[in-house]
């Protein structure tokens, strides 16, 4: 197969909605024709992000409705309008935010994790235990996977790493019994308030194993049943999620392995088909790599527009606010210098592995690929880059165009590099400035969101916007939540009764 074609297709996938809708850029207004094309592009982008076909189709139909009725936004350009509507609708569908674990005060809480083989259940048990531990709870893990070789040992090692007790029995035990005994042991222990059940991976079509997990549910009535789902899952995600939900009435979903470049369309499909909220996401193998799920960020990711908000939030943690505002200002005005670049690199390095950070930026996914195919490790390069910038005079930093051959040689000598390295950095910096402009483009779109938010009575400041989202998560409309819980319990009780009657 020709290489040309291969790159073409790959780009088609990474470009996402941003690329798919680019034909709308610069067009004056929304017409019947460009709207049809836009809708088709939206549907295709969703399918390429692994959103299930029916979900993508229904979604597109809703967008069509809104695009027709969006009087308020008539003044905007079609591109911004489409992206804005799609983004907002994705957020609506994947929300509201729900990070609750339904912990009971003064009483033992039982959490159960379930899912397909290899989705990340055992690791996520460890991550949850760590999260709970850090919030002052006293978790215990129960090893109820009797299928996979060394699954028990795996959980034991994780427990040891965290200093969390693990209840386990011999590998040929009965899983239901192990769970019962585990909970009994936790009660007896007295110093445990949350039990996390690690169950075996199972296919939703495996009748025996599905019966087993229904038995665990029936016998232990966990307060939370969480489905662990791999973010790289394609069209089949809805089939398994639906089956697990039908069997167990799930309380939440945890989407794992989002640290890669998967678009994670499964998030939308699962929520749309089951209504079960996605509560957490896994972003790495280490036990601290669990984050609350944010629909707005996921929306950006599914659309292939970069995880803008996550980046902003991460950056906020590391940059001080003033410096941030200053740099943003410079960035927008195109006055971003090499010194700013160096400062930012330093701050960025504090945020985590560079390539991971870069991937969060719109349009940077491809740059990361480029770097990796050229066998460039940005971490190593950073040290060199810093050295080079340090060896420049302030004037050179402000205006790299000054740097001629003799200056280049001087800088290279000062930083222990080659003149070609200096040249490369300067070139890269100008590319980077190009990318900054792209970000400025993003900001336009953010501005649009802000205008809309203002109309809705929101705030202008993007930082404040994030804070508000967080607050509502933490507190939540309590009455509403209590009501939901009550309803859910009624449903669950009714279900249990039905299950009992069946036997």
């Amino acid at each position: 197969m020709s290489r040309g074609h291969s790159t073409f297709m790959f780009e088609g996938i990474t470009k996402g909605l941003e690329g798919a809708l680019s034909f709308l850029r610069g067009q004056g207004k929304l017409t019947e024709q460009n709207m049809q094309d836009g809708l088709r592009a939206v549907q295709q982008a969703l399918l390429e992000a692994d959103v299930q076909y029916d979900v993508a189709r229904d979604f597109t139909a809703r967008i069509a409705e809104q695009a027709l009725g969006a009087e308020v936004l008539k003044s905007l350009k079609p591109y911004e309008q489409f992206v804005g509507i799609v983004h907002q609708e994705l957020i609506n569908l994947m929300g509201p935010v729900d990070h609750s674990l339904n912990l009971r005060r003064g009483e033992l809480t039982v959490l159960m994790l379930c899912g397909l083989q290899g989705s990340g259940k055992t690791t996520t048990c460890g991550k949850l235990a760590k999260l709970l531990q850090e919030s002052g709870a006293k978790p215990m893990l129960v090893a109820a996977d009797m299928q996979r070789p060394a699954a028990i040992e795996q959980l034991r090692v994780i427990g040891q790493q965290l200093g969390v007790p693990v209840y386990s029995e011999a590998p040929d035990s009965n899983a239901v019994r192990v769970c019962q005994n585990g909970v009994a042991a936790a009660r007896k222990n007295g110093d445990v308030d949350v039990v996390i059940l690690d169950t075996a991976g199972r296919l939703h079509v495996d009748a025996d194993l599905m019966r087993e997990i229904e038995q665990i549910d029936l016998k232990l009535s966990p307060q939370q049943i969480l489905l662990v789902c791999d973010a790289m899952t394609g069209q089949d995600a809805v089939n398994s999620a639906k089956a697990f939900n039908d069997a167990l009435e799930l309380d939440g979903v945890i989407l794992t392995k989002l640290d890669g470049d998967a678009r994670g369309g499964a998030a939308l499909s699962i929520k749309a088909v089951t209504g079960v909220p996605i509560k957490f996401i896994g972003v790495g193998e280490q036990l601290d790599k669990l984050e609350p799920f944010h629909p707005d960020r996921m929306a950006g990711r599914i659309l292939g527009m970069g995880d803008v908000l996550t980046l902003v939030e991460k950056a906020q943690r590391e940059f001080d606010a003033d410096q941030m505002a200053e740099q943003q200002e410079k960035l927008l005005k195109g006055k971003f210098t090499l010194m700013d670049f160096k400062d930012q690199m330093g701050a960025v390095r504090k945020m985590g592995p560079l390539t991971q950070i870069m991937k969060l930026l719109p349009g940077m996914g491809k740059v990361v690929d480029m770097l990796s195919s050229a066998d460039i490790d940005p971490e190593e390069d950073l040290v060199q880059i810093e050295g080079i910038i340090d060896s420049m005079t302030p004037r050179e930093r402000d205006n790299p165009d000054l740097i001629d051959m003799s200056r280049r040689r001087r800088i290279a000598d000062g930083s222990g590099t080659n003149p070609s390295d200096v040249n490369k950095l300067i070139k890269e910096f100008s590319t980077m400035s190009g990318m900054m402009q792209q970000m400025a483009g993003m900001n336009k779109w953010q501005q649009m969101r802000q205008i809309k938010q203002m109309a809705d009575g929101g705030l202008f400041d993007p930082g404040a916007q994030i804070q508000i989202a967080k607050k509502s998560t933490a507190l939540g409309p309590l009455d509403k939540r209590a009501q939901q819980d009550k309803k859910k319990k009624q449903r669950k009780d009714a279900r249990k009764q039905r299950k009992k009657n069946r036997r």
Partner: protein, 313 residues
């Protein structure tokens, strides 16, 4: 249940289905309309083959059959021919179905090294155990190298399999350099005159550069110890994987030049259609499929069966 029972049962199910489900959609005697094509498109998308492949097939149907009276067999032939052409790639040749080891490239003499890689949790270790079983059954002496020194109890997992199979395993403590395990595995195989050494690796997300570098180091070390090795670099893919499978295949191939795919977990309801796109883009063939958690649940990839099963509901 034996391998062949499973196969037969699968085929039986597929045949029944082709009688009903797809026939309903593409009913003989009716005119093939655009809405019907759209419906068929949704079935193609449901396999995870991706928009590009699905569109290519629809395009072909549109050209050949739209507006005409459907003869089911003809339409189905068009689809099947197109899919099979995709799966067989440029070379058009596949292996001998009666020879379960025929997809593997063995060293002309001495030790054959098989390196197994893939993202986290796809089924690498289990597939290795299954492959070792297959090799052993076919008279090969196998050594396993427990190269996943990262994930908790990964070494124990492969060790348990090696004990069940009665094959030798080389391990190092958790946290050791995986390349040194690979090296030791090759050394052990040379020492004991083994036929095949299979090297397990930790799961890694294809965009994690450091881990991908580690993988190429493993490959380099293998090549240093055994000239011409690794003879096979198998990428394990989870059948539930969606469009990210392309990125996986691209990145892993770039790093360690994969020679084929093992499509694991095909016993669920996922179709694994992404391998069509991967074959098309990178000419990387599927060699084996995993159809369960047990040691015998590995089958030689059969394009006919696979194509039929794509439309199984």
């Amino acid at each position: 249940m034996g391998l062949f029972d499973k196969l037969k049962r699968g085929l039986q199910k597929t045949k029944d289905l082709l009688q009903t489900d797809l026939r309903d959609l593409l009913k003989s005697g009716e005119i093939l309309t655009e809405p019907k094509l759209e419906q068929f498109y949704s079935r193609l998308i449901a396999t995870d083959m991706g928009v590009a492949s699905a569109k290519a097939i629809i395009e072909e149907l549109r050209e050949k059959h739209v507006g005409r009276t459907v003869v089911f067999e003809e339409v189905w032939d068009t689809v099947r021919a197109k899919l099979k052409a995709l799966l067989k790639g440029d070379s058009g040749t596949l292996w001998d179905a009666s020879q379960p080891l025929s997809p593997l490239r063995f060293a002309p003499e001495g030790v054959t090294v098989i390196l197994v890689a893939g993202v986290n949790g796809v089924g690498k270790t289990t597939s290795i155990a299954k492959l070792a079983n297959l090799l052993k059954k076919n008279g090969k002496k196998v050594v396993l190298a427990a190269g996943d020194t990262f994930r908790a109890a990964a070494v124990e997992q492969l060790t348990l399999w090696s004990q069940r199979l009665g094959v030798e395993i080389v391990t190092k403590p958790s946290g050791s350099d995986p390349a040194s395990v690979a090296y030791a595995g090759c050394a052990r195989a040379l020492e004991t005159n083994a036929d095949v050494v299979i090297v397990d690796t930790a799961g890694r997300i294809q965009t994690q550069q450091n881990l991908m570098k580690q993988l190429s180091k493993i490959q380099r070390v293998i090549a240093d110890k055994v000239p011409g090795a690794p003879h096979e670099v198998l990428l394990v893919l989870d059948a539930t994987t969606g469009q990210n499978g392309i990125s996986q295949a691209q990145h892993f191939s770039q790093t360690v030049s994969c020679t084929g795919l093992v499509l694991a977990k095909l016993d669920g309801t996922a179709k694994g259609g992404i391998v069509l796109a991967i074959r098309k883009e990178m000419n990387l063939p599927v060699k084996y499929v995993g159809v369960g958690e047990q040691i015998d649940d590995l089958e030689l990839f059969d394009p006919d069966e696979f194509v039929n099963a794509l439309f199984d509901q």
